[in-house]
Every structure is written in C-alpha cells, then in structure tokens.
C-alpha cells in the first residue's frame, strides 16, 4: 500500500463547478522495487495527458503495488471498497493483472490496461468492462516472428524465461514465423548469467536469435552476447529495448531489431506533441510504457466527454468507439476490446549520447489478437 498520492487533476482550478459529479480513477502500478521504472513511466505518461486536458471533477489516486500480487489485490480492494473508484488502470505485469482484473470487473468496475494483457483476458476470460489499450501480450512477439520470416531467416534460435509470458512469447513468435528453428529454450526467471545459453546458440548453427527477457535479464543477456563473439542478428519484442533499459545496456544493443506498436519517431501529430510534452515536463525521453499511459488517459477522457461513467452501457460504447488521437496513429478496438493496430519493427540506434529506437518497417498491419475468436462478446 505504498505511496498513495492524491493528484486531483484540476487541483489548481477553481472549485466553481462543484456540482459536477466526481469521477474517481484508481491507478495501481509499480513504483518501487524491481521494475519500478515501467510503472513510473506509465504514471507519468498518464498524468501528462490528464494535465494537458486540465478538466475538473476528475480525481486520480495512484498507489504502488511493489510488483507483489497480494499488495495489488489489497490496493484494489481499498480503492473499490474505501475510495469507491469508478475506473481502475495502471498495472504493468500480467500476473498482477490476473490477480486484480477478474475480481475488479466482477465487482462492476471498468479496467483499462496500460500494459499487461494476458491471453486469458483476451479470449475466454474477456469481459465487457475490460479494455486493453496497449496490445495483447503476444503482439510484439508476433511482429518479431513476422519480421524473421520477411527477412528470410531460416533457422532462428529462440529463448524466453520459463514462465507463462515466456511461453506466450515463443508461441507468438512461432505463430508468424512458421519455419524451422535452430533451438528453443526456456531459461530460469530472474536468471542473470546466459553463458550456457550463448554457448548453445553458438553450437546450434542458427542464423538469427530471437529472445524475450524483460528487465535486468535482457540487460545481462545483451551484454554477455555482445562480448561472446557470436555475431548473429538479434531480434525481440520492444520490452528489452525500451528507453529506460537501453542506457544500461549501452553499445551492446545497437542494431537490434525489435517489434513495437509505438516509437518516438512515429510520424503523427499526436505523437510529436506527446514526445515534446513528455520531454519538457520530465526531462527524459518517453518510453513505450509512457505512451501506453498517455493513450489510456486520452481514451478515457474521450469517453468521459460523451458518456457518464455511471451509465456503464453508454460509457462502454464510448470507450469502444476509441474516438481519440492515439500516439500510435491508427487505433480501433476489436470485439474482445483489444486494439487493432499496426506493429512496427524498430532498430536500436544512438542519437548523440542517448540510445534510442528508430522505425525501420511495418511487421504486421492491422493486427488484432490470436484469441479474439475465443471471446464470446
């Protein structure tokens, strides 16, 4: 239950519109412990949009889940029971989402996902009150698979940690790659030494490497890989090549291709404004997560413009219309309320002293999710 900050959106604005109904939004995200950088970016992106909008009658409650599922559940309980929020959002990790989302929607609260979007919630477990604004978990891996195919790789080596998101990752890659593999391995979650895996890659005769290793795991792998003398092209989902992480990886990441549905050089007006605004306010480049936070806030604001949150049917329809300017350009919802969007391939580059990404192509156009048919909505 760490750091509960009350950030009244229009705190400085006059209280003249006292008659207007208050809308309460609860943001549960990771602000301390491992992975805090992701949650901080989600929060900052979200709050940027709220501030730019500047409307009254909106209250955002932010709380830190410490990346612990039981803490997240407790915060959700507090927000629902005590603060009586209307909308929940902000969770970074799939396991925390699985702990919070089903019971929150069962209690009649909207949940807007800023990142985690596990397969269960896109398929059989889809729910009218649940929207994923980011993606479906498999999407970015699918993009890497599609890229591998289009590049004509015939023998990639693929690896991910041995946990559900890791399995989804490799399955997602294989779904769009469809060819032969030089090897497929699962590493330990939290593993920091990849010498053994790199030796296997070296011995496997692979022509490319796909990996999904979020957070510190990816940093370790890339540094060790760069030093190993194995010189195969590397690709992965955007998570391991994101703004916050790249600086710690350094040169080792240069040239790596990664699948992403956003990049700071995406050419649209909303994105240009977002990148500039974020840099001005926080003095750093925005990350993927900041972009999701920003889009989520804007989606929510657009729905609040046309519907009252207490009228669930109307509000749901307003959300599903997705009538907002996404920093990703094209954006609409499929029937399972997950996005249909283009997924790009980025390359890690260096701009001055800063490591960042540049779009080099589109991997899949108008991608929805693999589980949409399992959803009965």
């Amino acid at each position: 239950m760490s750091m509960k900050t009350l950030l009244a959106a229009a705190a400085l604005a006059a209280l003249a519109t006292g008659a207007q109904a208050q809308v309460k939004v609860g943001m549960i995200t990771t602000l301390s412990g491992g992975g805090a950088s992701l949650g901080i970016d989600i929060r900052d992106g979200f709050m940027l949009a709220i501030e730019e909008d500047g409307r009254d009658g909106l209250e955002i409650i932010v709380a830190d889940d410490q990346r612990k599922p039981d803490v997240a559940v407790q915060i959700a309980d507090e927000m629902i029971q005590s603060d009586k929020v209307d909308i929940l959002t902000g969770i970074v990790w799939s396991n925390l989402a699985m702990a919070v989302v089903p019971s929150a929607t069962a209690q009649g609260k909207f949940y807007l996902s800023t990142n985690a979007a596990p397969a269960q919630l896109a398929g059989k477990g889809c729910h009218p009150l649940y929207f994923s604004v980011s993606y479906q978990n498999d999407n970015l891996h699918e993009a890497a698979g599609a890229y591998a195919k289009s590049e004509g790789y015939s023998n990639p080596f693929i690896m991910a940690p041995n946990y559900p998101a890791g399995h989804d990752s490799l399955n997602g890659f294989k779904r769009f790659y469809e060819g032969e593999l030089a090897g497929e391995i699962y590493t330990e979650l939290g593993q920091t030494d990849y010498a053994a895996e790199i030796a296997q890659i070296r011995a496997s005769g692979a022509d490319s490497v796909f990996f999904f290793l979020p957070g510190g795991m990816g940093i370790s792998f890339l540094k060790q890989y760069a030093d190993s003398g194995v010189d195969l092209p590397v690709m992965g989902p955007a998570f391991s090549f994101d703004q916050a992480i790249l600086q710690a990886v350094g040169d080792a990441a240069l040239g790596v291709k990664n699948g992403s549905n956003w990049s700071k050089d995406l050419d649209n007006e909303a994105n240009a404004a977002f990148v500039a605004g974020f840099q001005e306010k926080y003095d750093r480049l925005p990350s993927l997560y900041a972009a999701y936070g920003y889009d989520t806030a804007n989606l929510m604001l657009s729905a609040l413009d046309t519907a009252d949150v207490t009228d669930q049917e109307a509000f749901r329809a307003a959300l599903a219309a997705a009538d907002f300017d996404s920093v990703r350009g094209k954006f609409s919802f499929d029937t399972n309320q997950h996005p249909i969007q283009d997924i790009f391939i980025r390359e890690v580059i260096k701009e001055g002293d800063i490591y960042t990404n540049m779009i080099v192509g589109t991997a899949i156009e108008d991608r929805s999710s693999a589980y949409v048919d399992e959803c009965s909505m």
Binding site: D64, Q74, M98, P102, P164
Partner: protein
C-alpha cells in the same frame, strides 16, 4: 492477571472492536486490513511453535504458507473450470468448500514440513537456517517454472470459496471466520505449550543431550513441532489465498519467509500473543509508513533493527516484562 495477560486481553479486544467499528462506520477496507493482519497472525502463530517452543529458526515457512495457498488455488480452479484434479486411479474433483480446502492445505503442508524436516534436522544451528531457506527457494523456482498451475502468473479465483451457513463474500463474515480459526489455533498453541509434548520440546530446545538421556528423541520432538507448525502456517496460506482470491509464487518467496519471521519477532518470540501483536503492528506500519514514503521499507528496517538490538523480547516483552510465556 499478569501484565502479559492484560496485554493479551487488550489485543483480543482490539481484534473484535476495530472491525466492529469499521462495520458501523461503513469502512469495509479496514475490515480487509484486519483480515490480512489476522491471517498473518495465524501464519506467525504457526511459526512460533517451531521457533519459540522448538528453537527451530526456519527461514522457509513461506513454503507452507504458499503450499496452503496453492491447495486452495488448485482445488478451486479445478472446481471453477469443472475439470477433475485427476481421473486415474480414481477421480478427484476440485472443490469450493473451505473446510475441505483447509484440510487439504493442512495435510499438504504437514507432509512438506515432514520431508524438509527429515533432511534439515540432520543438522542444527546455522545449517538449519540455510537449508530451510534453500529448500524454500527450490520450491519457489519450481512453482514459477511449472506450467500447469499458472507459473509466475499464479491462479486467479473469481469468487471466494464458501463455508456452510456463511456468505464469505461479506468482508465481516470472512473476517469472523478467520478470527475464529486464529482463536482456536491460539488455544491449541497454549495447550500445546503446557502439554507433556510441550514440556519435552521445550527441554529439547534448551538441552537436547539431557532429553536423550531420559530416553526421548529430541530430533523427533522437533520434527513433530515443525510438522504442526507447518500445518498451521499452511492453513493461514489457504485463508490468505481466499482473502486475495488469488495465489502466486510470491507467497513462496524467501521475502515472505522473512516477513512471517518478522511478525513473530516484532511481537515477541515464544509469547502466546506475540505473533498476533507482531502481525497487527506490521500491517499497520505497512499501511501508515507506506502512505508517507515510497521508501517505507527503510524505516521498517530501522524499526526492526531497533527492536532486535534492544533485546527486550519484542513489543509484548517491552509491555509485559521479560520472561517466557509459559510457566
């Protein structure tokens, strides 16, 4: 009435009065917090039997807490999906009934404690601490990477399990259930300390070689204490999973083991109500300090350090003076 008994009575009164007030003031979240404290207390009462009576510094009690949680998660998820647990050689169905889940949690954690105890009790002292910690880590890694029951993602149960005659979805009713279990276990724990077994265990902690020369086996006494201790912590784990309607490997992590031990120490080792006081204070600190700073664990660490270094025997020791709880 001794001072310790008075302190215990005050704690007991608070456990009844605060949720009562919360019910009246319509603050359901306070009840949820109190439930959390009561469940943590139950886990710590379990550890206190190994730690306080048996002198077994188990840094792996998260194993039993987590297994209890998974007993709930596995049974309830099978019931939720209408798939049997196993079909051969005979069919076992999942269940949403709390009593069955509790019994399973108790049995499973007791078996785990027996196996870990058989190995760990071949040693003593620091070896025992390190080994319990290491086995905890082993099970944690296994739970994360074993794909069948959600791995790292854990298992989500959409509706809280049921207890005959109660609506467990109502916070105060679930709280009452947890409190009743805590009181039963406290009573059992008090009886145990005074029983012949408790006497022998108490001596096995202090002078194991003496216990042997009267023809008793100190290792077997400690093993039984560990099994009882693990079973109680497992029960707490099942309740915790039901409180969150969710179970994940986090419940098995070594930090969890550390926290359960922290509850016991803050309150006072070998004090009947020590674990209860400790758990209540921990949940309060977590809630209050957490509201002040993102880095609240620094302050938690300092508070903990001061309590240990003061050597006063935890909060109950400070309030009620030195001396063990049971003479």
């Amino acid at each position: 009435m001794t001072r310790e008994a008075a302190v215990n009575a005050v704690i007991l009164l608070l456990l009844v009065a605060v949720p009562g007030w919360a019910l009246y003031a319509d603050e359901p979240f306070t009840i949820t917090l109190a439930t959390r404290a009561v469940i943590f207390a139950l886990a710590a009462v379990g550890l206190n039997i190994a730690l306080g009576l048996g002198g077994l510094v188990s840094l792996g009690h998260a194993v039993y807490f987590g297994l209890g949680g998974y007993a709930m998660g596995v049974l309830a998820s099978h019931a939720q999906n209408y798939t049997p647990l196993m079909e051969w050689p005979f069919v076992i169905e999942g269940t949403k009934s709390m009593p069955v889940i509790w019994l399973t949690a108790i049995v499973v954690s007791a078996i785990a404690a027996l196996l870990i105890g058989l190995l760990a009790l071949r040693t003593s002292g620091v070896y025992f601490i390190m080994i319990t910690l290491a086995f905890g880590q082993m099970i944690y890694f296994f739970a994360i990477s074993w794909p069948a029951y959600g791995g790292e993602d854990g298992l989500s149960i959409y509706v809280r399990n049921g207890f005959p005659g109660l609506n467990t979805l109502v916070p105060i009713q679930f709280y009452g259930l947890c409190l009743a279990l805590l009181l039963i276990v406290l009573l059992f724990s008090a009886l145990l300390a005074r029983s012949p077994f408790g006497l022998a265990l108490n001596a096995a902690r202090q002078v194991p070689h003496r216990v042997e020369t009267v023809g008793l086996d100190p290792v077997r006494l400690k093993l039984v204490a560990l099994v009882i201790s693990g079973a109680i912590t497992g029960l707490a784990g099942a309740l915790f999973a039901d409180l969150n309607r969710f179970v994940s490997p986090t419940m098995l992590s070594w930090q969890m083991s550390g926290e359960i031990m922290v509850f016991v120490i803050i309150g006072g080792v070998a004090r009947l109500f020590g674990p209860v006081a400790g758990a209540v204070i921990f949940v309060l600190l977590e809630h209050l300090l957490g509201g002040i700073s993102e880095y609240w664990q620094v302050f938690l660490g300092i508070v903990l350090l001061l309590i240990v270094l003061s050597g006063k025997g935890g909060v109950i020791g400070m309030l009620a003076g030195r001396g063990r709880a049971h003479d």
